[in-house]
Symmetry: C2
Subunit: 199 residues, 2 copies
DNA sequence: TTATTAAGATGCATGAATGTATCTTGACTT
DNA sequence: AAGTCAAGATACATTCATGCATCTTAATAA
């Protein structure tokens, strides 16, 4: 029995509806009318705020990121924090997958940008969560700075993202610990970077 | 100056046109009319053979895979073969990225399948190229079978695919060698799987 | 209370893509 | 050489989403 929504209230509700539509139907299935219906309003209200499907979608994504910041507390132990990071990320798998459907249809054609571009644009300003974890571990002396050279430092994020993109579902706990214990940690733990190891 | 195409000839030309459209415009921008125009024919000819955009797209992908098999010769050295594998794969980055645009729009909604599902369906029968390389290396005694446990064995493929999906472009040579020398080989080379390494 | 502003409902024209039916014409078969 | 079948061209109706214009009504401010 609530009255007529206005301003910021309304806008938040619209973006929430857009987000739900995006996750349920993907970017291709996202329509202005669909969002309007779900929000219990009509298209003109949407049209007054956003021009494109793309604008609306990105605004919706921004709102979700603002609502649920990815924060991993300092536990004094790298392994613990990495697992928590992956667990936290897993709860958002559906949303992440939905975001990537942006690049299917027209979006990446029109803007000629890549998922990487969007990712950096959305993360602009805030340092990456994963990077923060690793820096803390370096300060604690758990790992060596030099073992975090470019392809390695982002490895866990890559593994997670790839899994989500390929399966549209979060990685199970067993897989996450395997990534940490059998891939990432062995690479960064102090095994005195043996360059030109053999041959 | 060529006459009217028929049967298999025509079909191959149609699939070739579809593939080009798919790589240039992505799945979202793929239209029956666009393919017909590019193939120099009209929509009814397409409609007689495939019902969906999806059917057409998958048939086009199949034809490309058949035309360009991913074959890496036995060079007696794992590292050489891995680099050749990644180099070969890189030449197809554009196509691979295009294939994944399938899962943006409607396809994955309608079929409720995942990119993983499609991948396994397309690879059905033939063993994976990467897996073949690794098995050969195990036989040669270059690496230990036990170091190829599940999350590690497919690691290079994961890294490659993730890069292509995120940037829509092939990984540069420097990045490929970094994957091999600083991530994959260190993990599989005989460092006597130290389980419960420390703590 | 009154005035202003935007929410919300409705209607209409448009454009893109598709499905389908029809018809002509070229190529292959016997 | 005649007949058959599919290629290729064209046309029409349909569907879906969008853009825009209009009008009523509710909420907020003066």
């Amino acid at each position: 029995m609530k009255g007529r929504r206005r301003g910021a209230d309304l806008e938040a509700a619209l973006l929430e509806a857009a987000w739900t539509e995006l996750t349920e139907r993907g970017y291709g299935g996202l329509t202005m009318e669909g969002v309007a219906n779900r929000a219990g309003t009509s298209r003109p209200v949407l049209a007054r705020r956003w021009n494109d499907k793309a604008e609306l979608a990105i605004a919706a994504i921004r709102q979700q990121m603002a609502k649920h910041p990815m924060a991993v507390a300092d536990h004094g132990d790298l392994r613990t924090e990495l697992l928590e990071y992956l667990e936290l990320a897993s709860t958002r798998a559906k949303g992440i997958a939905a975001v990537f459907t942006l690049f299917s249809s027209e979006y990446f054609q029109d803007t000629s940008s890549t998922p990487q571009d969007l990712r950096t644009a959305l993360l602009a300003g805030g340092k990456e969560t994963l990077r923060a974890l690793l820096d803390r571990a370096v300060e604690r002396g758990e790992i060596l700075e030099q073992n975090l050279a470019p392809p390695v430092d982002t490895l866990l994020g890559v593994l997670f993202r790839h899994h989500v993109l390929m399966t549209f579902s979060p990685p199970p706990e067993a897989l996450r610990t395997a990534w940490v214990d059998r891939i990432f940690l062995p690479l960064v733990k102090n095994h005195k970077e043996s360059r030109n190891s053999d041959e």
